[in-house]
């Protein structure tokens, strides 16, 4: 794999520093786009991207068209494929939970990005990716590879990633659930290897028949937010103004 990922171009950061993921991380791609096209793409990205899905190494999206063509089919390449590194990534995360947590919060620890960099892995575009993007992106509008539809799809997709940063893992070809499973498994194993795990913690006592009685929590719901306490009136309450529905309340004790 070619080393093409680099941490964001910022000064060396103190420990604890982090980089927030948002659409500016994709600046290298936006920067090379035609200004007018990018402006149109931004407008289109608000509600013109109908849906998107992952295909091997690609994002495929449907973008609203106009006139006789109701929609365009758009494809552009993923930034990286971490699939070959899945184990290593899970190991990293199990040793550095702050990396995983930070990623899931969209606030990526700088040391994590440095590690990615030295491993030749990327989470967002660098110059090499920009070239791949231009070469690999396609659109059924038959325009250029960086037509407004492609850019709009990329923008909408990146914005969704920023909303749900854990999906950054999916954006580099990892299965989110499986990655989290693996991190948990490694953590658990390390703990049990050290004897820190209590034996027999699992239960499924639920399946047993037992005398039925109310939960204390239910009492809590009964009284929560009820300042008047026991001094309740026997008046009926209006349930629906439109329907003139009245409820006799309260009943006696439940």
């Amino acid at each position: 794999m070619v080393n093409r990922s680099s941490p964001p171009e910022k000064e060396p950061q103190p420990a604890g520093a982090a980089v927030r993921f948002d659409e500016t991380c994709w600046q290298p791609v936006w920067a090379v786009a035609d200004k007018a096209v990018l402006r149109r793409a931004k407008a289109l990205a608000v509600d013109g991207v109908l849906d998107w899905r992952y295909e091997p190494g690609m994002v495929a999206a449907r973008v609203r068209g106009y006139g006789p063509i109701p929609e365009y089919e758009v494809r552009f390449p993923l930034v990286d494929n971490w699939q070959p590194h899945a184990e290593r990534v899970a190991d990293w995360f199990s040793r550095h939970p702050d990396w995983l947590a930070g990623l899931m919060a969209g606030n990526l620890p700088f040391v994590f990005l440095q590690r990615l960099h030295s491993a030749g892995m990327a989470l967002w575009p660098d110059d090499a990716y920009v070239a791949r993007f231009r070469a690999g992106a396609s659109c059924t509008c038959r325009g250029s590879s960086s037509c407004a539809h492609v850019l709009a799809a990329a923008l909408a997709w990146v914005r969704e990633l920023a909303e749900e940063p854990v999906e950054l893992l999916a954006s580099v070809g990892l299965d989110v659930g499986r990655t989290l499973d693996e991190v948990h498994r490694l953590t658990y194993e390390r703990l049990s290897g050290s004897g820190a795990v209590d034996a027999g913690i699992q239960d499924s006592a639920q399946a047993v028949a037992r005398p039925w009685q109310p939960w204390p929590e239910e009492e809590r719901v009964q009284v929560s937010g009820d300042e008047s306490g026991c001094r309740r009136t026997e008046d009926s309450v209006m349930l629906s103004r439109n329907l003139s529905l009245y409820l006799r309340t309260p009943w006696g004790p439940v």
Binding site: Q206, R210, L239, P250
Partner: protein
């Protein structure tokens, strides 16, 4: 899983009136605790509701029949839904009725599936009880899955989805469903669903449970619907809203569909316009709790990340622990994060009754968020299997004070140990004074000489801090501070000790004075204590009794006991003046100084004179007293002493004569010091003769107009501080308490060290008090000043009661040498030319002419001799300036009357030069319009100058000058009636403040003598002297000579 459509419900008819008659638990007791189980299976379309099944896990068919009898249901055992056992089948509503009878099910042994149903039925009952339900409707032919999703969609999209396929209207059915306005209710619902998902027979069938809750809610709700007697009344108050065609009908149909309470289905339908129906539904769903979060299974909706701060185990390193955990928002369910990593499975986490699915999806990013605001959390998060981290004792304070609030603000739960947050009132600082040392280290300026008690003596003491029932020795407390470990454990709870507040108080008397703590320091600390401060309890050993007595007396200084007043005092003291004398005497006993800061005109001078006379009569004076005043007041002091305390022998150390030596080579001063009671000098002379005056061991040093020493860097301040005295007294009429640095300087003169060093004072008081004039430091300072600063204001009600509404003060000035020479020449000239016949008109004319000229000379020599109207040429004018300055500084206003037009101009010039503003001048030469404007401007208050100058004659014209509360008669009309008229006409009725009338008099001149003459026969004067000054011309020559004579010694005010 849907209900088997073959289930027949015909045999259910007629059972609706049967009531459950038994307690299931009791029945089970006789059946070997055979568990009852059951489920509700939803049936599409949703109007069919569904069917409930009951069976016995491991029981026989006969037992099931028995159960049917017990429950009063007509159903016979038939194939159940899970091929497990035969079951009883019941229509949805009957199942709801049965399962919501809690008495029947109490303590019954039930299978886990039935338990979930019972809980949902109970939840439905709670929701109805809390009226947390709302009316709903959906198309009759829809399936449950579709219908159950609909409220959330409608509520979120806040819009309408219209069915296009079959026309504008369709068949709808109504149902009462949960509204989820009570947050804990939906939390409970999610907990039930979480449990159900763990049960194989219910997993994947959540919609049946949703339907079950709806059926229960609907049935229980319908039974509680009532016709309100107030329907019309209420609907009349409805806000106006646009009604659509067909809306009334739709609402009526919908309403009717919700009131049917038969036990059998299906739900009745009604025709409604789709668009209208969706609109009405959206209205009903507004403000409900319907939304996607309702179906959350990860726990994110109900749980939050929390942190628990765990105190160190006793007797260990003192390291605390910060532990991460998940906390339920509504219920007391929580689990430490450590447990999450200790379970091999990641899919679900059971905490309490809840099941969280893949909760790391939300709690990991939450931890990252927490790490951003709390370094300890960041530290926790870098460790594999993040669960907890150590917190050093030194970090705990910062964590609690800074990070915890940020965590709470960011929405995290934080648990700290049961800290009884110790109220300051539960804290005591106990000071035990063991001994007062006889000697104090040299090097510190002593305020007192050989008084009965030396306040600078050092004390030996010990202190401790009591927090509730716990007593910390000074060593323990200091360790607490050193280790930044502000917690003490007491009876199983942790108490957060308000270390800062305690430390501040302790430093009051332990720090600042490196050489040790004096009685003075201790007194200061105790005195300034506020209600909000940590109380200091001081106790004394027998050896320290003098210190105890000192503290007690000091605390009582504000209310001194009455004493005998001096016999030789020629005058009458008002009550507050007596109080002032007692106060000075009390301070004398305590060996400390004081600042008498009464408003001008309240008689500070005679209080001090009475005090000094008292010392003399009681033989307390150990030497002469030194009285320092500004040059302009020298004559006044002398005049007042002659008038009120002639027994006090006075030497005025002033003027060229003071440099003389006698034949024995002694200076005038040293000779006087041995014989007189009081040495009077001016600040200017003091500076010149600083060395000589510093040699004398004074008894009392009084600094009049103490603002003269407010600036510590000045020569006069330095000279005053160099004086050795047994007691120091400062007099000032300006509101010192508002000028903190001046206040410090004055107080540091009377009681060196009492307010601490200047920089300490600035930091401790000036800054805080300026920023918060009503704040705690201001209160502290006030308390600290209480014993040593006596300030009465004319506006104090108790003082006002003693003052006449209008009272007169005679202010005496001296003559400058130029004035004295002129005066003497006029008098000489008169005697040379005066005809002797009393009736001679020219004699009268000459006398009156001389009278006028003499008055003018007293006013200002330039009126007679010409030249510039400088202040320096007139003693009276300098005095006026000082008096006006006081008035202005107090924010008050005054009128200055003069009978000489030119004098008025000079006064205006001089005031303009001194204060930067020029007062208005009201004189006879003005047109009425100009006068009116002048008066109006003055009355309007600031920014118009607070002084108005008037010619005596112009002043009497119906003026309304109520802004002023001071009247200065710069020169005298030797007829009190004329003066009174001028004063009274100027002050209209409605004047609320007391009016103070200052009559300026030059000592040793006819002004002084006539003033005394008039004062002596005041009650006669109006009748005797008439309107003019003519009566003077009628005096015999001898009387006249006595009247006009210049008493050079008392008149002359030399520039020292």
């Amino acid at each position: 899983m849907e209900a088997d459509n073959t289930v027949e419900d015909s045999h259910i008819n007629g059972t609706s009136e049967l009531v459950g008659v038994g307690n299931i638990r009791r029945w089970q007791d006789g059946q070997g605790d055979v568990p009852v189980n059951g489920v509700f299976l939803a049936q599409d379309p949703w109007t069919q509701m569904g069917t409930g099944f009951l069976w016995l896990d491991g029981g026989s068919a006969a037992q099931l029949e028995e159960l049917a009898l017990l429950l009063g249901v007509a159903s016979r055992p038939q194939p159940g839904p899970f091929q497990a056992a035969p079951a009883l089948a019941l229509p949805g509503r009957e199942f709801a009725r049965l399962l919501s009878d809690e008495e029947m099910w109490r303590q019954a042994v039930v299978g886990p599936e039935l338990a979930v149903h019972l809980r949902l039925a109970r939840l439905a009952r709670i929701l109805v009880q809390r009226a947390d339900v709302l009316p709903f409707a959906a198309l009759c032919d829809w399936g449950w899955r579709q219908v159950l999703r609909m409220p959330a969609r409608l509520a979120q999209e806040d819009g309408v989805f219209v069915r296009h396929d079959e026309g504008p209207a369709g068949w709808y059915a109504g149902m009462l469903i949960p509204a989820w306005r009570v947050g804990a209710g939906s939390a409970l619902y999610r907990a039930y669903l979480g449990q159900a998902a763990d049960l194989p027979r219910l997993a994947g069938n959540e919609h049946a449970l949703g339907a079950w809750l709806w059926v229960c809610t609907d049935w229980l709700g319908r039974r509680s619907l009532v016709d309100s007697p107030r329907v019309n009344e209420v609907s009349a108050r409805q806000p106006f809203q646009i009604r659509y065609r067909g809306e009334e009908e739709l609402l009526a149909n919908w309403r009717r569909s919700l009131t049917d309470t038969s036990l059998q289905g299906p739900l009745p339908g009604f025709v409604a316009d789709h668009w209208l129906m969706m609109r009405m539904l959206a209205l009903e769903l507004r403000d409900s709790g319907w939304g996607d979060a309702l179906f959350d299974t990860t726990g994110e909706a109900d749980w939050q990340v929390g942190f628990e701060l765990i105190p160190p185990i006793q007797d260990e390193s003192g390291t605390w622990t910060l532990r991460a955990l998940l906390v339920h928002r509504w219920f007391a369910w929580r689990a430490p994060l450590a447990e999450w990593w200790q379970q091999p499975e990641r899919g679900r986490w059971r905490i309490g009754h809840a099941v969280l699915r893949e909760p790391d999806r939300w709690f990991l990013p939450e931890l990252a968020r927490a790490a951003e605001v709390c370094p300890a959390v960041a530290r926790l998060l870098v460790q594999p299997a993040p669960a907890q981290t150590a917190v050093d004792a030194g970090e705990v304070m910062e964590l609690v004070n800074q990070h915890v609030p940020r965590l709470l603000e960011a929405g995290f739960a934080v648990f700290t140990p049961r800290w009884e947050h110790v109220d300051l009132r539960d804290v005591r600082i106990r000071v035990w004074v063991q001994r007062v040392n006889r000697r104090r280290p040299a090097g510190r300026r002593s305020a007192a000489m050989d008084s009965w008690f030396d306040v600078d003596r050092l004390i030996e003491f010990d202190w401790s801090v009591a927090v509730g029932d716990e007593e910390l020795s000074s060593e323990q407390f200091e360790a607490l501070v050193r280790e930044q470990q502000p917690y003490v454990q007491s009876g199983g709870t942790w108490k957060r000790v308000p270390v800062e507040a305690i430390l501040e108080r302790i430093q009051d008397f332990t720090k600042g004075v490196r050489a040790g703590t004096s009685v003075w320091d201790l007194a200061r600390s105790v005195l300034q204590a506020d209600d909000t401060d940590v109380p200091v309890e001081v106790s004394f050993s027998a050896e320290a009794a003098p210190a105890q007595q000192f503290l007690r007396s000091l605390a009582e200084a504000k209310a001194p006991p009455p004493r005998p007043l001096p016999n030789g005092f020629r005058g009458e003291l008002r009550d507050y003046q007596k109080h002032g004398v007692f106060w000075l005497l009390q301070l004398r006993d305590l060996g400390i100084g004081g600042c008498l800061a009464d408003d001008m005109g309240l008689g500070k001078t005679i209080q001090v004179l009475s005090f000094l006379l008292s010392l003399k009569e009681q033989g307390q004076a150990r030497g002469p007293h030194l009285l320092i005043c500004p040059t302009s007041l020298l004559s006044n002091w002398r005049a007042e002493m002659q008038r009120f305390t002639p027994d006090l022998k006075l030497y005025i150390h002033h003027g060229a004569a003071r440099h003389g030596l006698d034949e024995a080579g002694r200076t005038t001063l040293s000779r006087a010091v041995a014989t007189v009671d009081v040495v009077l000098t001016t600040f200017a002379t003091l500076v010149r003769d600083a060395e000589e005056l510093a040699q004398v061991a004074w008894d009392t040093v009084v600094a009049d107009e103490a603002q003269n020493i407010k600036n510590v860097d000045t020569k006069q301040a330095a000279a005053v501080r160099k004086l050795k005295a047994r007691q120091r007294i400062a007099l000032t009429g300006t509101p010192v308490e508002n000028r903190l640095v001046e206040l410090w300087a004055i107080m540091d003169f009377v009681n060196p060290g009492y307010l601490g060093g200047e920089s300490w004072f600035r930091r401790h008081f000036s800054g805080p008090v300026t920023a918060h004039p009503q704040g705690p430091q201001a209160r502290r300072l006030k308390r600290l000043l209480t014993p040593v600063l006596l300030r009465r204001r004319k506006t104090d009600p108790s003082i006002q009661a003693e003052l006449p509404e209008k009272w007169e003060v005679r202010d005496t000035a001296g003559l400058k040498s130029e004035q004295a020479a002129l005066y003497q020449s006029i008098v000489d000239d008169l005697w040379q030319r005066l005809p002797h016949s009393r009736s001679d008109m020219s004699r009268r004319g000459r006398i009156l002419a001389a009278l006028t000229r003499l008055k003018q000379v007293c006013d200002h020599p330039c009126l007679v001799a010409g030249g510039r109207g400088d202040v320096d040429r007139s003693g009276k004018l300098s005095l006026l300036l000082d008096l006006v300055a006081e008035v202005v500084e107090q924010g008050e206003a005054g009128l200055i009357f003069t009978q000489f037009r030119e004098m008025g101009e000079i006064i205006c010039d001089v005031l303009a030069e001194r204060f930067g503003w020029r007062p208005g001048y009201l004189h006879g030469g003005l047109r009425p319009g100009e006068r009116g404007e002048l008066v109006a401007r003055f009355q309007a208050g600031s920014p118009a100058p607070p002084i108005l100058v008037l010619s005596l004659k112009a002043g009497g014209v119906g003026l309304n000058l109520t802004r002023a509360n001071h009247v200065f008669h710069f020169d005298r009309w030797w007829n009190p009636a004329v003066e009174d008229q001028a004063t009274d006409r100027a002050f209209r009725i409605g004047q609320t403040r007391d009016v103070q009338v200052h009559k300026l008099v030059c000592s040793g001149t006819l002004e002084e003598r006539i003033d005394e003459l008039i004062a002596a026969k005041r009650h006669l004067s109006a009748a005797v002297v008439g309107e003019s000054e003519g009566w003077i011309t009628e005096l015999a020559d001898a009387d006249l000579q006595a009247l006009f004579r210049l008493d050079v010694e008392s008149a002359l005010e030399e520039d020292g």
